[in-house]
Amino acid sequence: MPGILEYQSGDTFLHRAHPLVKLLLAAVICVGGFLTQSLWVNLALLALSIVGGFALGMGRKVKASLKGAGSLCLFLFVVQLPFVRMGRTLLPLPFGLRITDLGLRYCAQLGMRLLGATLPLVLMLGVTRLSDLTNTLVAQLGIPYRYAFVITTAIRFIPVLFVEMRDVIEAQTARGVELDGSFKQKIRLIPPLCVPLLVSCVQRMENNALAAELRGFYLRKRGSGYRRYPLSAADAPALAACALILIIAIIT
């Protein structure tokens, strides 16, 4: 099973769509969520991502992102809520804090915006091969290959680092390190967890750069990509959807 941030092979219309169109669609849904002032549009965009995700056969990714990003959003919601002073007070709290109607609205919208920005990116990476993304960044957007490669390599390394982190935690707990000890114990956990992670990451990246260089990385030219990415008629509906979302987000 590929990880949450990895490509999941398939043959849906989005898998076949032009990589830039996918990137644009994801970007428009993210940005749209921040442009709109309407909670309903936020909700609709979120629903679009969730339903779309399941329709693409990526329910697992949707659930995992909702769980991961959702808990972060919930945390932000709870932490920020009592500090919003504007609006009508619904529930006064000690220390001059309060919960207001506007506070509820702002905090809910913030959560939905963050969630709404995470999901489309996760789904975009699920239907787009990283090499296609690199190649279109180079060929269509004119970004130099080195920078495009660095961007996609950073994305590629996220799951790798997660696996590495898990392995280090496993290795240290097997050594008797307690992860749920007191605060003082937790401070002492920083070196056993961070040093091995850092060492292995540096080694990884060094060896990885070497592997790329040994296979001609520095010979790459702008036109070196094998695959070509022509826009096709099939991309029109997706582009239209982009425009529609953007317009709705701006006027609401």
Binding site: M1, T173, A174, R175, G176, Q185, P191, P196, V199, S200
Partner: protein
């Protein structure tokens, strides 16, 4: 020491370990072999309590791993990972060895004497940085850092991979000594059948998540069909002895095989002389 009762482990309906039952007594030294992806590391992680069985139960010294924390299990069980760099972080070897002993409730003086004793057999400068050592040395420092905790069971995941012959022998001799002199139970994953034959009297073979053989290493080494199922290649001298029609245990190493050839030749010559 270790008791597995019909243990299975599955991720997303894919079974990685199926119906494994196993009993390993205190002080035993067993090798665990099998093809890539057979589930060897998964089995070790189950015993360490890092993952919990989907079905069945694992008892370490009579207590189930299910309701024990890994940090509690780590008081009796030491797990040496294939890559020592995931465990090492100290600025010096001495610091590496003493880390966390106070969590265990070991007194300061006791901790010091344990570290000194371990440094005694490690035979490395205690003030050197673990990261400046060779792979084999790092592997032994990782083993030593487990051993100061006085585990009664050591789980070793391919402890000799990536080591040269000398480092490999140092590693194995250290493990063998801990097993012999301190009575530590050892369960070791290895692909190297020569090492299994030389050091582990007992061998378990895992294939496709199932234990397909469990018995004396010498005897299993003759079951070439079984070994082949697990992508293993028998130790050379055992395979040769079998080809030559020798009984199990008659001559399993180069020295005794040479002796056997010599006495057969002599016997043959004597018989020839009589006729």
């Amino acid at each position: 020491m270790i008791l597995l009762e019909n243990v299975s482990y599955a991720i997303e309906s894919r079974e990685l370990i199926s119906g494994a039952s196993l009993r390993i007594g205190q002080g035993e030294f067993a090798a665990l072999a099998g093809e890539n992806g057979a589930g060897k590391s998964t089995l070790l992680k189950l015993i360490m309590g890092l993952i919990k069985p989907t079905r069945g139960d694992i008892l370490i010294q009579g207590a189930s791993t299910r309701d024990r924390k890994v940090s509690a299990l780590a008081r009796t069980v030491g797990y040496l990972f294939q890559n020592p760099d995931r465990q090492l972080f100290g600025a010096t070897i001495r610091q590496e060895l003493s880390f966390g002993l106070d969590f265990l409730g070991v007194s300061k003086s006791d901790a010091e004497s344990r570290v000194e004793e371990t440094l005694g057999w490690l035979k490395l400068d205690p003030d050197r940085a673990p990261l400046s050592l060779s792979r084999g040395e790092r592997q032994r420092v990782a083993l030593a850092s487990l051993f100061v905790r006085r585990p009664s069971l050591l789980l070793l995941d391919e402890p000799t991979t990536g080591l040269d012959y000398r480092e490999c022998m140092q590693m194995m001799n250290t493990v063998a000594r801990l097993n012999r002199e301190d009575g530590v139970t050892v369960l070791m994953i290895t692909h190297d059948m020569e090492i299994a034959l030389d050091f582990a009297p007992r061998m378990l073979t895992l294939s496709g998540g199932r234990i397909i053989a469990d018995g004396s290493t010498r005897e299993l080494m003759r079951d070439e069909a079984m070994l082949k199922r697990a992508s293993l290649i028998p130790a050379q001298m055992v395979a040769l002895a079998r080809r030559l029609g020798l009984a199990p245990g008659e001559a399993d190493d180069a020295d005794s095989l040479a002796e056997w050839v010599a006495s057969s030749v002599k016997g043959g010559a004597q018989r020839a002389g009589h006729t």
